[in-house]
Symmetry: C2
């Protein structure tokens, strides 16, 4: 880990969760809380802020000291943000108000679990604390199902959401084999296609779906899309499509923003929680095949991807715990701020280590699906993506197919 700048302050700690929940975000919380218990001489009390920075501003803090370890471990295995979440960018004014409150509670450690917007919030908190000379160690603990944080091999939360998407496509592909047609599934992902790409991880046969994968990284051309679908349909008599909610035209305008207008305080437009994009793509396909009538259906996986109970990747769950623990270890060693990045070791087998990165390196900006994770035509994934993602998702169930020999047809009068 990084070197300490000076001795760690002695005081209390506050921790919050922010942004969209994941299935393993509570593991990071529990990792941090149990991590802090190992350093009781430095971190006296651990306070949980309800709904992130909003909970600090409202003094809506709960004492996490006395919660039994067994109960915390159960919380770790529970989806969504047990402290409540928030989508809120803080102003310098709000930061100063928070420091008045934190000072009154003798808090000198601030941990914030979230994505790049939450890292940005943490970084603002750090900057204002420095300017105000308030002694606060500020750490971001990464989570996002989008897998789009900078400087890390992958993000806690992604593996479990990717597992859900892979399992959903495995089952839906079998469903689509049974009752053939064209099936479009919309997967979460505003700017990054990692989660949509995971749709292909469970393919077990050359004709397994999804047959087409569209991500926000490449311009979505409606005519090319219909042409792609027709080509697959001609070959297999069916077609399974995975499309990101954030697919955008050549000018970068998300197709879904044609239908929805809500915007949050970070400037993000609402893309999830509506079936409109799927229905729009289904309509395009129907029109493309007209006058031929084809069975076309669209599902939007929605919030199930980030919350479904009992479906998580063990690797992801373990790593989520560890990044929480690591952030606390860095803080008690005297480091003043940072975020935890995951480094994957080269060579055979899957192995990771963790390192501390500057908050500013993660805040605001995001990364995208590398071009080499897509095929040449940009409408499917590459082998490189499967090698990257499979260890994060964990082993998928085996699928059985009926392989009996065809009974020789008889001549009927």
């Amino acid at each position: 880990m990084a070197k300490a700048e000076k001795a760690a302050p002695v005081g209390n700690m506050v921790i919050g969760q922010s942004g969209g929940p994941t299935v393993v975000i509570n593991q990071s919380l529990v990792g941090a809380v149990l991590g802090a218990r190992k350093h009781k001489k430095i971190i006296k009390n651990v306070y949980g802020a309800r709904h992130g920075v909003q909970g600090i501003l409202n003094q809506d803090l709960i004492n996490l000291n006395d919660i039994p370890r067994a109960e915390l471990l159960r919380v770790g295995l529970t989806p969504s943000s047990a402290l409540g979440s928030v989508r809120k960018k803080v102003t310098p004014e709000e930061c100063r108000r928070m420091f008045d409150i934190l000072r009154a509670h003798d808090v000198h450690y601030f941990f914030y679990i979230g994505g790049n917007d939450s890292a940005e919030t943490a970084n603002i908190v750090r900057e204002v604390a420095e300017a105000e000379n308030y002694d606060l160690s500020v750490f971001h603990i990464p989570k996002t199902i989008d897998n789009d944080l900078l400087g890390t091999d992958h993000c806690p939360g992604y593996g479990s959401a990717a597992r859900f998407v892979a399992l959903a496509f495995m089952g839906d592909d079998l469903d689509n084999r049974a009752l053939k047609g064209i099936k479009i599934n919309i997967v979460m992902g505003r700017h990054a296609g990692f989660l949509t790409a995971a749709a292909a991880l469970g393919r077990s046969r050359p004709d397994s779906g999804p047959h087409l994968v569209y991500v926000p990284e490449l311009p979505f051309d409606e005519q090319q899309f219909v042409a792609d679908v027709k080509k697959v349909y001609q070959k297999y008599g069916r077609c399974m499509i995975a499309a990101s909610e954030g697919i955008a035209d050549k000018d970068g305008v998300a197709i879904a923003t044609k239908f929805v207008q809500e915007v949050d305080s970070h400037g993000n437009k609402q893309l999830s929680g509506t079936g409109a994009l799927g229905d729009y793509l289904a309509q395009l396909v129907k029109e493309g095949f007209a006058p031929e009538k084809i069975r076309v259906r669209a599902d939007t996986f929605g919030y199930l991807q980030r919350s479904f109970c009992g479906c998580y990747s063990e690797t992801d769950s373990r790593e989520a715990y560890q990044v929480g623990e690591m952030a606390v270890e860095a803080a008690v060693s005297g480091v003043k701020s940072g975020t935890i990045s995951i480094i994957r070791a080269k060579g055979p087998g899957y192995k990771v280590s963790y390192k501390l990165s500057p908050l500013a390196s993660v805040a605001k900006n995001t990364t995208q699906l590398p071009r080499r994770f897509l095929n040449k035509d940009g409408n499917n994934i590459s082998k490189a993506f499967i090698e990257y993602a499979m260890p994060l998702v964990g082993p998928l169930p085996e699928v059985g197919y009926l392989e009996g020999a065809r009974v020789k047809p008889k001549k009927i009068g």
Copy 2:
């Protein structure tokens, strides 16, 4: 089981799958195939018809004799219909064509796995076979996620789909606690609310969602719906809603048919595979709260409910196998036709037995969620439903909540 009418014919058997797939429909197939292997002196060859009756008409039959037991067991654990499915009502003319083909292949056993439409098809096959004096034993093996077949305590396929819905709501309720708002989830169910009711099985706290449950059995009043949502929202600052895709107005017109028009050969209108109903209900709520702006989201669970890989009820999986096996046992005992009903024993613990019922008793007509499974207001489930459904769904994961004492607020200057 029922008494034999005469000695069972010696010959071959054909089996097909029909209607919407389920996660355990292959268990019924495997139960029948392995069941037939115990009676090789009566049932010589087992042929699988690809895509149900269509596979017979096309002589698209596969020989299931030589498939190793281990491979069949894997197929049993694989979602969807491994033989392929079809939505097709046969005409007497098509039946006669089928008998020409079945006669050529020396087939005297016909097994059809499906819901009430498939039972109707089986019953037509039986009637025409009798009229034509073709010696054919005809059995229906029940499956449906809708749980709406007559004369049975419950239907294979329901428990697993109900488990998916319960797990989805458990996670989504936690998500909705973290980021509060109004969340509408549309659950499959054209005329029966059993699956939608399962949304409530994972509730672990008095304030757990879904807070409102709407099923097709009672008229859906849009104004009352908005009033219900407002009441819950006032109490909890959030509201989770489960609504069947088939909710209908007081004249019995499904709300979703306002948006979609496709009809299959059994006269069923398309309700699934579109997000339109959820978006419509979300719009109603938004308008109801205006000018106040509320976070309202809608998800439509879609085909994942009947196909998600790796999520099934063990009870359901076992029973699905057994109804397949039972149908074959009845057939080889010399009974000429029927379907298998599940009888639940009274008294403590969950225990079932199976009985043979006439095909005609299951064909065409369906049952609905009994009124006693709903609350007085008709917008939620009753305790009686939970007692009925929990054994079918199996134990659900435990959920952890953070229960720290609130940190006493300090006076800030």
